[in-house]
């Protein structure tokens, strides 16, 4: 019984981070109908950004977050113009291979530039713990969670109330109609991609003080992200948040019961179960999976 509050706290902290990663991925799919197979690599780049800023400039990751936000956004925009824009109207398979190619290129760029060694961002507060009743939280994790929640909330507010957000949602619902209404769908796609990449890049910066940084770190997170977005319904942002908590719960409870070795198997089995039983996810429209891209 004592352990339940701890599990709960761990779930929420983890879920918050996963939500930020997943929300960017599902946004990109919702508006552009593209699954970004390079999503994990942008996370990895965010982590490396935080690391190098810390190692070379002695910047705390949270300072990096604020200062580098425009850089991350610009990098996202640039990657859209360079890589995605030429294939945005191409077949679904072409898009899959494009993001897969990007993923390979980025992973190995990091490998070549920075070697396979793991790096750590050891901030001064890295080992500080906070007590919350019977549960114990790592301060870095808690701070990461807080910022992640803020960022996600800001994104939701933006999508809900800003004009641009509405434009993006309109494009997600019906690309052709949006275009006929005078919406520059090209710009919407660029913006969506940049926002999605920024979300996951920010998540990377937030994760740097908590996890080791190495070129293939994106892989494990992105797999979780795939499970999350499918569970929540591809393109459904609120669904992604709810699903993040569920996936985090599965992971936390799984770690506790069957150990960390098999916990990955748990959410993969969950993933396959969803795809077999209800591919559209919790919040997705029934039958969305038969339409695909």
């Amino acid at each position: 019984m004592q352990v339940i509050p701890q599990l709960l706290v761990s779930t929420i902290l983890l879920g918050g981070i996963y939500a930020l990663i997943a929300v960017g991925l599902t946004l990109i799919f919702g508006v552009m109908r593209v699954v970004n197979f390079a999503h994990g690599e942008f996370l990895m780049l965010g982590m490396y950004l935080a690391f190098w800023a810390f190692a070379l400039l002695h910047l705390d990751p949270y300072a990096t977050l604020v200062l580098a936000l425009p850089v991350v956004f610009a990098a996202g925009w640039a990657s859209y113009r360079l890589v995605m824009r030429p294939v945005i109207h191409a077949s679904h398979n072409v898009q899959v291979f494009t993001t897969v190619g990007l993923s390979i290129a980025l992973q190995n760029l990091a490998l070549v530039l920075w070697t396979a060694d793991s790096h750590f961002v050891r901030t001064s507060y890295y080992a500080v713990v906070v007590r919350l009743g019977p549960a114990v939280l790592n301060l870095a994790q808690a701070a990461a969670f807080a910022v992640a929640v803020l960022a996600t909330a800001a994104l939701f507010a933006f999508m809900r109330w800003s004009y641009t957000g509405k434009v993006m949602r309109a494009t997600a619902q019906d690309r052709q109609a949006a275009s006929l209404m005078g919406i520059d769908t090209g710009r919407v796609f660029a913006l969506t991609w940049a926002v999605g990449v920024t979300c996951v890049g920010v998540a990377g910066i937030l994760l740097a003080p908590i996890y080791p940084v190495y070129p293939t770190v994106g892989l494990q997170f992105v797999l979780i992200a795939y499970v999350t977005v499918v569970l929540g319904g591809l393109g459904e942002m609120a669904g992604a948040v709810v699903a993040s908590l569920i996936v985090a719960a599965v992971e936390v409870i799984g770690s506790y019961t069957v150990g960390t070795a098999w916990k990955e198997a748990l959410y993969l089995v969950l993933f396959i179960a969803i795809l077999l039983l209800r591919p559209a996810g919790l919040f997705g429209q029934r039958g969305a999976e038969t339409v695909g891209a």
């Binding site: 191409a90 072409v94 899959v96 190619g101 390979i104 198997a265 999976e289 695909g292």
Partner: protein
């Protein structure tokens, strides 16, 4: 499509001739790998190219073949040929499940499903210490003899894998020219229109995936015997799955020779870079992977049909009346 057989004959003839002329073990090894990766890319092509079911989880079949051969050999002393057969059967079973999913899921959902399958098996293989020796992998024992595939002479391996390669090539050719081939092409183009013409699209897709699975597993089993070691993190990896697809996409998805050409390019570059930079900075070896990534992006954008058709179009003078 006609006229494409001449380059293929040349390719395979060259491969057959090479061991007669070349003695260098390193070069022969390179040739074996080119033919092996070509075969597996071609096996992928059966599902991904001819049936249009792009999967990034084919390593699940490769790994099943590799592990079957390795496990049956180390635990029960069975011939790797039996391991190959068992692996193929297991792969077909998994292939049926994935085939079933291919009829229910389209687009990105299907791709993600295939990835999930390979990752589940990766975890099972790397954690089930009792059965698979877990993350340590399995060292395949070398027992001399053909029945045990304990062959030291690289030249024999060349001919063995060449036979496999020609076999997979012929399977693809059959898919191009046979009744099923035409039907699959229709399914690829427009599944509903194909259904309206009486094409049993769902059954065909499942069958194509199953055939692809069996062939991939066979490649995995032979590879395990050749390389001598099965590492779960490698044989079930997403990277490997992407590599299969890469060969086919680069060379010519949906053509019979394309995957071999694509795999040959990929393997040659990799082997060269490994040899050149292997010792010094293992990181530098990663350059070939960056090149793959960029090549993949470039090919699907500029020549989505792949290199072989692209070159073919440039070779031939455009015939009057046929617009592309």
């Amino acid at each position: 499509m006609s006229g494409a057989t001449a380059p293929a004959v040349a390719f395979f003839a060259l491969a057959a001739l090479a061991p007669v002329v070349v003695r260098d073990a390193f070069l022969l090894d390179g040739l074996v790998l080119i033919l092996l990766w070509g075969s597996v890319a071609a096996a992928w092509n059966v599902a991904g190219g001819y049936a249009g079911q792009v999967s990034l989880g084919h390593s699940v079949f490769f790994g099943l073949g590799a592990y079957s051969a390795a496990l049956l050999g180390t635990r029960w002393g069975l011939s790797p040929w039996i391991g190959l057969a068992v692996g193929a059967v297991l792969a077909i079973a998994v292939g049926f499940v994935i085939g079933f999913l291919s009829n229910r899921l389209r687009g990105p959902y299907f791709v993600l499903a295939t990835i999930a399958f390979s990752q589940v098996l990766l975890i099972v293989a790397s954690r089930w210490r009792a059965f698979t020796s877990g993350s340590e992998g399995i060292a395949v024992p070398f027992r001399p003899g053909f029945w045990t595939l304990g062959i030291a002479d690289k030249r024999v391996w060349v001919y063995l894998i060449l036979a496999l390669a020609v076999g997979v090539y012929l399977v693809q050719l059959y898919l191009e020219r046979s009744r099923r081939g035409y039907q699959l092409a229709a399914v690829r183009e427009d599944e509903d229109a194909a259904l309206s013409l009486g094409v049993p699209a769902r059954r065909l897709k499942v069958a194509a995936i199953a055939v692809s699975a069996a062939l991939t597993a066979a490649c995995g089993a032979l590879w395990a015997q050749y390389v001598g070691f099965v590492d779960p993190f490698y044989v079930f990896s997403v990277d490997l799955s992407v590599r299969f697809a890469l060969g086919a996409v680069l060379g010519g998805i949906g053509t019979a020779l394309g995957p071999f050409v694509g795999a040959a390019l990929v393997t040659t570059l990799e082997t060269y870079l490994r040899a050149r930079f292997g010792g010094i900075g293992a990181g530098l070896v990663g350059i070939y992977l960056i090149i793959y990534g960029v090549a993949l992006i470039a090919i699907v954008r500029f020549a989505p049909q792949g290199l072989v058709p692209w070159l073919g179009a440039r070779w031939r003078r455009p015939a009057a009346g046929t617009a592309r």
